[in-house]
Amino acid sequence: MKRIISVILSAVCVFSCFLLSGCGEKNNNALVYYLNFKPESAAVYEELAKKYEQEKGVKVKVVTAAANTYEQTLKSEIAKTDAPTIFQVNGPIGYEAWKDYCLDIKDSKFYSYLSDKSLAIKDDNGVYAVPYVVEGYGIIYNNAIMDKYFALKNRQSKINSMGEIKSFEALKTVVEDMTKHKKELGIDGVFASTSLSSGEDWRWQTHLLNIPLYYEYKKSEQDPTLSLLDAKEIAFKYEKNFKNIFDLYIENSVTSKTLLGSKSVADSMAEFALGKAAMVQNGNWAWSQISGVEGNTVKAENIKMLPIFTGIDGEEKQGICIGTENYLAINKNASEEKRKASLEFLDWLFSSETGKKYVTEKLGFISPFNTFKVGERPNDPLASEIDRYLKDDATETVPWIFTAFPSENFKKEVGSGLLDYVQGQADWDALKKTIIDKWKSERG
């Protein structure tokens, strides 16, 4: 009896081993493995994969990394036998880290579609990563509240419309006067919360810091991003300007300074959507967040974007910040067949009718490819604002040079330095020192 039982048990054991390994193999026949960076588009990519398999008969496997865990996921996935064939790097720094895995795609169709070839990441004579989406950020404002303010009889500022705000001085005057009249305007503060809780501070330590550093490297001979990439040290010449705008945000905020450390980006987008704040610094990706807030009072036609003015000479010609940190690369170590299939998939996604429709309508991307015609743009209010600034010849957009910031740790330290400053545990000079020192040590 015992014997029979043990035979059965071992049979079950052996059988389950086969079963497990069998399951593992099933997924292996996907030729294209796309490791997706944007959790908000996970469902769309799944749908795309199905569509592609229907049309072309090639199986695409899509895995989405949870928010803020792309590096971790990529690190473990790429070491596997069944590694991602298409993955994302976040700019020149990301490329440095993954360059042993990036295939040279200078002869691919996918790269040939790129309208502005200078946007791609190049090394020696090769092209290793290509951006697939262009994004922009600035100060998003609710025009309905602004109109209400400009209609106030007892306002003190001499500025009569948003069009007249072309400098930090003007912005400051309006914002401070609005704070005085916040009861009449029905807002809790002009700016939505300056979210500084951990992982929620990227709007300041990355996006806002982009502006002073851009001006510091603007006049250099080569491209500012490349000079910043070479910079072993920064002078942080425009720290006063960084302070100007940051102070304006926190002094005229919905939330009192001591509580900012517990606010998230979602909190501040909700404040904006509910009409509690008139302005918020963020980018076009925030549209889905604004429109998704329950009971939101902001109408799409009232959502506009203003450049982030900091009081630097010549800023009346400054536009919003437009650039990308989303670059696609092909895994060099994948088999020839898989690499080819992956490039074909990207080619299909960004040039076929079905693919393009998904990109503009479902993913909501402004694509930097010449395969997209004028009408083929997402039509949400923030994307149209980016279009407006791109077409405006009077202003010059600010590129995203933060892709050359030394590391995640650098940004994190800047973020906690800002929090210390806001909470009064450190003064501005300490923060300035942190930024300069951390740059040096993280680059070194």
């Binding site: 054991c13 509580l259 450390g261 929090l419 450190a426």
Partner: protein
């Protein structure tokens, strides 16, 4: 006997394979990787002791988090064991509803660390907001927040272990003490505590190791804010590993040091308390 020998592989193999895959191999690989510079675990380049040197020369965060962790460990080990033991004493008397209370006190242990962290963040912020503070306003808030959280989570578990120990104290000895005229306190310190020494060993071991390797709760409650001053060692290792490019080896070296430290502390503790255990 013969049969046992013959079927030995069948019974041991599954566990052995699981042990090798999930523990032995990653451990050895981790040890090896701490001497290398690597991006993914398959492309390591040997650099010798460089990573270890860097931890103590160019990285002040490790020592800061070590100090914070030690403070935290000392505080929680004392408070958790004290409260758990007192609760156990209380709930081994014949009071109405002891079973219900035991269950209630044990329940927090069933909730995962991340969830607990966020729940306590809400509670603590809810209180601090009234005074215009948040948990990140001061490192002290984060520290005590973590202490409260850990107490809330661990007391029930330790209490159960102490209850098991207390109900095994022989009534003969207790009665003998009573006959000899020992007071309640004397009985507690001279009879009860020495008899539950095995439970104390286990509880101290669990609380010390848990305090040192705390991660989820720390990540969810403060994530090191403000300024990394509430960052414990496990979180520091995690952030080193994923935060800066090319620092994976340093993170790995930190975790080797971390392992040695936790092993040394807990083994010393085991040795010390084992000596005090008595046969009753």
């Amino acid at each position: 006997m013969k049969a046992v020998k013959r079927y030995f592989p069948i019974f041991v193999m599954p566990t052995l394979i699981a042990f090798l895959i999930a523990f032995a191999v990653p451990f050895c690989l981790g040890l090896f990787l701490s001497f290398t510079e690597f991006r993914t675990v398959t492309d390591a380049r040997f650099v010798g002791l460089e990573n270890y040197i860097k931890i103590f020369t160019s990285d002040e965060t490790f020592l800061n988090s070590l100090w914070f962790t030690v403070k935290f460990a000392v505080t929680t080990v004392v408070t958790i064991n004290l409260f758990a033991f007192l609760l156990a004493l209380l709930l081994t008397r014949n009071i109405f509803g002891t079973r219900l209370f035991r269950t209630v006190f044990f329940m927090p242990n069933l909730i995962g660390g991340i969830v607990l962290g966020y729940i306590w963040q809400l509670i603590i912020n809810g209180v601090l907001f009234r005074f215009n503070y948040s948990i990140t306003s001061d490192a002290q808030f984060g520290f005590w927040g973590l202490v409260i959280l850990m107490n809330w989570q661990m007391i029930g578990y330790m209490m159960i272990i102490y209850i098991a120990g207390l109900s095994n104290v022989s009534t003969d000895v207790l009665e003998a003490a009573k006959v000899d005229g020992a007071g309640a306190l004397t009985t507690l310190f001279k009879v009860t505590i020495p008899s539950v020494m095995p439970s104390i060993t286990i509880c101290l071991f669990l609380t010390i190791t848990n305090a040192f390797k705390l991660f989820d709760q720390n990540l969810a409650l403060t994530a090191g804010a403000p300024g990394g001053r509430t960052r414990m060692m496990a979180l520091d290792i995690y952030e080193t590993f994923y935060g800066s490019t090319g620092a994976e080896g340093i993170g790995q070296a930190k975790s080797v040091i971390f392992f040695l430290l936790v092993a040394a502390v807990s083994l010393t503790q085991l040795m010390l308390t084992r000596r005090k255990e008595v046969e009753s």
